[in-house]
Amino acid sequence: MTWRVASYAVWAALALAGAGVQFVGATRARIDTAGRFLRRLTLRPMGRVLLALGWMWCGWHFFAR
């Protein structure tokens, strides 16, 4: 197995894990869904601002620069 395949395999595993957590959260309600997790982080004004700054950086980094 090359490093390239291994790297993509880890990324795929992480994506699957995210989908799995989302599925469990949506069906069992004992774990946050991504939406509830986001809302939890934005409960505090500072959390909302920090997340928004991260969102802004992502937009600039990926789409403008």
Binding site: S7, F37, A52
Partner: protein, 138 residues
């Protein structure tokens, strides 16, 4: 009440249409150009204003409204998401410091490959705009 729901539905449809059209506009720009800068700066400016308004509202009300689960049982846990975010950041760092990039793809390099397809880039921009809307709404 039905009128209010209809108005809400219309508002959502308009928001989706505008966001979709804007996503294709952003996707049509090329990074490192004035057009791309302007297309991305516009939603950043709107978000900044809405955040400032939300910040003032939060301060006036002594903090944002709580997370309402509508249940008396134990609230759902967020630990899996923190672990997942930590793993993603960790693997991103590992790939970032390892070279060559073709063997150790980062999120940015994978995005660069995907964004050559304009519709795919538009979908990603749409997701970014939707996430921003979630962050600034009260």
């Amino acid at each position: 009440m039905l009128g209010g729901m209809a108005a809400h539905g219309r508002g959502t449809a308009v928001a989706l249409t505008v966001s979709g059209a804007y996503s294709f506009l952003v996707a049509a720009t090329t990074p490192f150009t004035v057009a791309a800068d302007a297309a991305v700066a516009a939603p950043l400016a709107v978000a900044s204003v809405l955040l400032a308004v939300a910040w003032r509202g939060d301060l006036a009300h002594g903090g944002a409204s709580g997370l309402r689960t509508g249940s008396s049982t134990a609230p759902p846990v967020a630990l899996p998401w923190f672990v997942l975010v930590g793993l993603v950041v960790g693997w991103e760092v590992v790939c970032f410091v390892a070279l060559p990039r073709s063997l150790h793809p980062t999120l940015s390099s994978m995005y660069d490959a995907v964004s050559r397809c304009r519709p795919a880039k538009a979908v990603i921009v749409f997701g970014w705009l939707a996430l921003g809307r979630q962050l600034v709404r009260r």
